[in-house]
């Protein structure tokens, strides 16, 4: 009888245990690819993001945040009415290893002003060609490459920037604040139907400590231009000239289809937040343009030391409770003897 029960129990346990991995593994698993096709986002959770309270359905954006070991992936389905496009779109990432803000500029915006590693310089007037408003004429935006204005390139400020870039010899671009405003002031507006690529830019200067710059006291030291190629001095120098330093860190696609809400997908490398990005366990995303809602991705390593502390706490409590109980029993037995 006992053996029969054992056999039934073993058979039951085998049946229960073995299928667990089988049903859990999904053969249709699709990793996220930033390619302008959004089908890999269909089975992923989206959060309603909207301005104000209780908006109508057509003013709700849907945002999804995903991460893997190296990248953060973001998908936005824009509300049918309100805030479509990437104008003034700042992506804020808050992590346990630091916070970062990112801007999105469409690639065709850079193409228009012929910006590249050599001549990506701030200029007074970039002569941007606005994209065609009339959707009937073109399905895709007309991209007109403009030769940089030679007189403006000869400008002293611009040349200094070029020198800086060459000296650094890395993927770093300089973009003046006024150009950033230009980009956000309608020049980066997406018109027409189709899919466009864009670049995610990171401002890697902390402007909060601008006033705390101690370089003001050592102004004489700046006569030697070679000092500029010392990284710390360079940062100070850029600060002093009121430049923003922007680095392209990620990219993505924006799609506008007739009768459908606009969609966007992008990736941002975690290395753009910190070089020790293995330690990033919590990531929160906020896109103020779309709404105040925060999307948080978390749930990984919380530190073994806390586990040890909790275990030690439980053990000490148990020992304390046992000792107390034993003492009480001993006292009770003593009283009984008397």
């Amino acid at each position: 009888m006992t053996k029969k029960i054992l056999r039934i129990l073993i058979a039951f346990l085998i049946i229960v245990i073995i299928p667990f991995p089988v049903f859990a593994v999904n053969e249709d698993y699709i990793p996220i690819q930033i390619d302008g096709y959004y089908d890999d986002w269909e089975d992923k959770p989206h959060t309603e993001v909207y301005p104000g309270k209780n908006p109508p359905a057509n003013k709700i954006n849907y945002v999804s945040l995903f991460r893997d070991e190296d990248y953060v992936y973001i998908h936005v389905i824009f509300a049918k009415k309100n805030n479509q496009g990437i104008k003034n779109m700042t992506i804020e990432l808050f992590t346990n290893m630091g916070d970062e803000s990112y801007f999105i500029f469409p690639d065709f915006w850079f193409n228009e002003i012929n910006l590249n590693r050599q001549d990506m310089m701030p200029e007074e007037d970039m002569n941007l060609i606005p994209l065609e408003e009339d959707l009937n004429e073109e399905d895709t935006p007309e991209i007109t490459e403009q030769e940089p204005n030679s007189s403006e390139q000869a400008d002293g400020t611009g040349n200094s920037g070029l020198d800086l870039y060459s000296g650094l010899n890395q993927e770093t671009y300089l973009l003046a604040d006024n150009d950033k405003e230009k980009a956000n002031n309608g020049k980066g507006k997406i018109k027409g139907y189709g899919t466009w690529s864009f670049t995610v830019w990171k401002n890697f200067l902390n402007w909060d400590d601008w006033d705390d710059w101690d370089g003001w006291d050592n102004w004489e030291d700046w006569d030697d231009w070679e000092d500029l190629f010392n990284w710390d001095d360079l940062i100070d120098w850029i600060d002093w000239f009121d430049w923003d330093v922007w680095a392209p860190v990620g990219s993505g696609y924006y799609t506008r289809t007739e009768g459908e809400p606009d969609e966007l997908e992008l990736y941002i490398p975690l290395s753009s937040i910190t070089s020790n990005y293995d330690g990033i366990t919590e990531i929160s995303l906020k896109i103020k343009k779309l709404g105040q809602q925060i999307i948080m991705s978390t749930g990984v390593n919380t530190g073994a030391y806390v586990g040890v502390a909790v275990s030690a706490g439980i053990a000490m409590l148990s020992v304390g409770a046992y000792a107390f109980k034993k003492k009480q029993r001993f006292a009770w037995e003593e009283r009984k003897k008397r």
Binding site: L6, V25, G299, V310
Partner: protein, 200 residues
């Protein structure tokens, strides 16, 4: 590195054999369980972690669906907790999957000199199920706290409160499997009074 692991594995097997032959049960238990844990972590853990994470997510998601508090995306090992101004995606990863706890329990059990092979198999299966369900309960409690109190409570819920629940269940399991069973089954030997003959 692989050759080193194989060499260590052969050495470990040899040590177990020697300790068995010499009857050094404590050292056999110590070296056997620790060694087995390391080898399982080397070879088995990478294979089982992902399915186990998915399984924990799926089962925890069933409870979440029932109470309509959170959704499960088990194919990505993610639980999604939508809550007013903040949505939290809780990733069930290597640490949350319970794989370490399951392996530690199994390794100790298989070298604990108490049960026979069939009993060990049954106790191991039951133990795995209990650890798995304890982990599911822990995840459910974490998600519930986040649902009601927002993401501000995440650290406390995940790092402290969830762990306390899990540890209490684990301690109970260890008590019944190892301590209690050992006390009940321990052999105290033949009991006699030797030369203490009754006084005539």
């Amino acid at each position: 590195m692989f050759a080193l692991k194989i060499a260590a594995f052969i050495l470990w097997l040899y040590l177990i054999w020697v300790l068995s032959r010499t009857g050094l049960h404590f050292f056999k238990f110590l070296i056997g369980s620790v060694g087995m844990f390391f080898f399982l972590m080397f070879w088995v853990q990478p294979i089982v972690t992902e399915p186990l994470s998915m399984a924990v997510t799926a089962v925890a998601g069933v409870i979440g669906d029932f109470f309509q508090m959170y959704d499960s995306y088990y194919q990505y090992s993610v639980l999604f907790i939508p809550k007013n101004t903040t949505s939290v995606s809780l990733a069930i990863d290597y640490e949350c999957s319970g794989v370490i706890e399951i392996m530690a329990f199994s390794c100790m059990l298989w070298f604990f000199p108490l049960y026979n092979a069939v009993e060990k198999l049954i106790v191991n299966c039951i133990g795995i199920i209990i650890i798995f369900l304890a982990n599911v309960l822990r995840i459910f409690v974490i998600c519930t706290l986040i649902y009601f109190y927002g993401n501000e409570i995440f650290y406390f819920a995940h790092t402290i409160f969830g762990r306390i629940i899990f540890y209490f269940i684990s301690i109970a399991l260890y008590f019944y499997v190892f301590t209690r069973s050992h006390v009940i089954r321990q052999k105290v030997g033949n009991f006699s009074y030797g030369n203490s003959d009754p006084v005539k």
